[in-house]
């Protein structure tokens, strides 16, 4: 165990020191890696741990982005505060969706379709609201200051997104080790059995969706003040919902490191192909690659790439468990 922590500490130190050596462009790629890792982690809280697939998570991202921007533009409220309000709004929407889905027994595919329907309805309504920029979207003014959550260059964004990611991992680890986490996994494995054993599945499903929506909305605030442009189709559209679930799936659902690993694999791929291929008229290529990778992973390693990485690193990072395993084998042999 100590070696694992040592490894993580070294990794943490290296990533903290990266802005000292890397240029602005490469840092931007890392910002996207951390951002999608964080969003994937937020989705993972609901889908990875309780097993209810949400294909409309762009909804919460969009709500966070739009709410933060709306409060900042109309009331001069700092995004640092606005994003938490956006989180509460997203949670409220998530709870309403959850109430319909979990109270009325929409499971499996029905739940998936419900989440899509919510996101699409929101997208259409926002597209028709003058106050939210309707079809044209909202442009944010660039006015760099800490209070405005806007900065020159990628270094501050690097540390903020890195902080988001690390905090999300700590949060998910805390959840995983708590009663809540155990109950969520019980629901994923067999909801009826969990209920029969006295787990209040409705309550824990609702908690999961509220936490997940809240976390996703915070990422929306970051996105708004990093990209400076919000459009209903890109914020609430199904393409975004699909984009944000690919990383945790490739990395490994229902694990702490899965979404992060998935993001380290896929995000640079998308940034690089966007930079190089789109000039040659190959703009859809990275999404084709994503699709193929996602299909292959689900078919051939349904638990995600993390399983193989763990297997590879375990003998180095956890020598004591590896040795114990061997001793156990011997005992069985006799």
């Amino acid at each position: 165990m100590t070696r694992l922590y040592l490894f993580l500490a070294v990794l943490f130190a290296v990533l903290m020191a990266l802005p000292l050596v890397l240029g602005n462009y490469v840092l931007g790629i890392f910002v996207m890696v951390y951002f999608w890792a964080y969003v994937g982690q937020s989705w993972n809280v609901l889908t990875g741990y309780t097993g209810h697939i949400s294909l409309g998570h762009a909804l919460y991202l969009g709500v966070g982005a739009y709410a933060t921007t709306y409060f900042a533009q109309n009331f001069g409220l700092s995004p640092w505060i606005g994003m938490f309000l956006g989180g509460f709004i997203a949670s409220a929407i998530g709870l309403f969706l959850g109430f319909l889905g979990f109270r009325f027994g929409m499971r499996g595919v029905y739940f998936v379709i419900l989440t899509i329907a919510f996101a699409e309805i929101t997208r259409l309504i926002v597209s028709h609201m003058e106050a939210l920029g309707s079809f044209t979207g909202i442009f944010l003014d660039f006015d760099p200051s800490f209070l405005h959550f806007q900065f020159r260059g990628n270094v501050p964004y690097y540390y903020i997104s890195f902080g988001f990611m690390v905090v999300s991992m700590v949060v998910v680890r805390t959840i995983e080790r708590s009663r809540l986490g155990r109950f969520m996994v019980a629901i994923r494995e067999n909801e009826e059995a969990a209920q029969a054993l006295g787990v209040n599945t409705f309550k824990y499903n609702m908690l999961a969706i509220a936490i997940s929506a809240y976390m996703t909305a915070l990422a929306g605030a970051f996105y708004a003040n990093y990209i400076f442009y919000l459009h209903p189709n890109s914020m609430f559209g199904m393409a975004t919902s699909i984009e944000l679930i690919l990383r945790p799936i490739v990395g490994g659902l229902g694990t702490i490191f899965g979404p992060v690993l998935g993001s380290f694999i896929l995000s640079p791929l998308s940034e690089i192909s966007r930079a190089y291929f789109s000039k040659g008229g190959l703009e859809g290529l990275h999404l084709i690659l994503y699709g193929v990778v996602a299909i292959l992973v689900v078919l051939f390693m349904p638990k995600g790439v993390i399983v193989y990485v763990t297997k590879m690193l375990n003998p180095i990072l956890k020598p004591e468990t590896a040795r114990q395993g061997k001793r156990g084998d011997d005992a069985d042999g006799r």
Binding site: A239, I295, V298
Partner: protein, 289 residues
């Protein structure tokens, strides 16, 4: 309110509803046999539109004449998707079955984008601007033809399922998978054929839709969702329900133009979807499952 206008909208809705029905019959067939929801259904329809478009542009053959070829091409596409991807995920938990098909849709959509660019294309076919007046009501000829052909194809699928050997095998596999295996039906091949047939139905619908609306790579999602709504209206796996659901949704969307801007008509469809899922998840016509 002008009653003629109302009638006009209703008729337009019914005509488009026939196409929705054909798309949804394909989705419902796939669900009925394998219990799989084809999340790439709309994208397959768009592929059908592109095949039809290129046959029209390059060879000058009208979409109505090339219909069979388009259906055959999309049949092969569906067959391959089933044989390579779907057959491997049949035993997965329901949630994990969603993702590969979403990914298939992503691949199809972006392949179209990569090959043919993001521009909207609307070909001028021979009949695309013809109209017909029945009393005070105006009808687009291409809409009427699309409706008639959609109903014919749907009827053809029903007859195929009722009368032919393969059709009976498909229904057997749909009724009782294990039983079908026990009486010696090669269920894997039936699966492939069913997915192909379901895809071919949506591909044919795409060809019929080509003269009616501009074509772009990103329109697939909307039709996937429309097909979901229709299938849930009619009851999952219920083919006649799917056709009826298509007509209902067509009329509902069309009539919503009375009080909403056209771009908001989907809000009506999604609201119908949520209400049906809440209060009548087995569908309006109570599917057999």
């Amino acid at each position: 309110m002008d009653p003629h206008y109302l009638l006009q909208l209703a008729i337009q809705g019914i005509l488009l509803g026939g196409l929705y029905g054909l798309i949804a019959v394909g989705l419902s067939l796939i669900f009925g046999v394998m219990g799989i929801i084809n999340f790439a259904h709309g994208q397959m329809m768009v592929m059908g539109m592109y095949v039809s478009y290129w046959i029209f542009v390059l060879l000058g053959i009208d979409p109505y004449l090339s219909l069979i070829v388009v259906a055959a091409v999309i049949f092969v596409l569906g067959y391959l998707v089933q044989a390579t991807v779907v057959n491997r995920i049949l035993d997965y938990p329901e949630a994990m079955q969603v993702l590969p098909l979403v990914a298939v849709g992503l691949v199809l959509e972006n392949t179209a984008l990569l090959l043919w660019g993001p521009d909207y294309r609307s070909p001028q076919t021979a009949l695309s601007l013809e109209t017909l007046w029945i009393g005070p009501v105006m009808i687009d000829v291409s809409r009427l033809i699309a409706f008639v052909l959609a109903i014919l194809i749907t009827t053809g699928i029903f007859v195929f399922l009722k009368k032919t050997r393969t059709g009976k095998r498909i229904r057997a596999a749909s009724d009782n998978r294990m039983g079908a295996i026990l009486v010696g039906i090669n269920v894997n091949r039936i699966n492939n054929a069913s997915f192909g047939l379901g895809a071919a139905a949506t591909g044919a619908a795409g060809a019929l839709l080509l003269p009616l609306m501009p074509l772009s790579p990103h329109m697939g999602h909307d039709f996937t969702l429309t097909a979901f709504i229709v299938v849930i209206l009619g009851g999952m796996g219920n083919l006649i329900g799917a056709l009826a659901g298509g007509l209902i949704l067509g009329v509902a969307e069309s009539l919503s133009a009375l009080f909403l801007p056209a771009t908001l008509k989907q809000v009506v469809s999604f609201s119908i979807l949520i209400i049906i899922m809440l209060f009548r998840p087995q569908g309006l016509f109570a599917g057999k499952k």
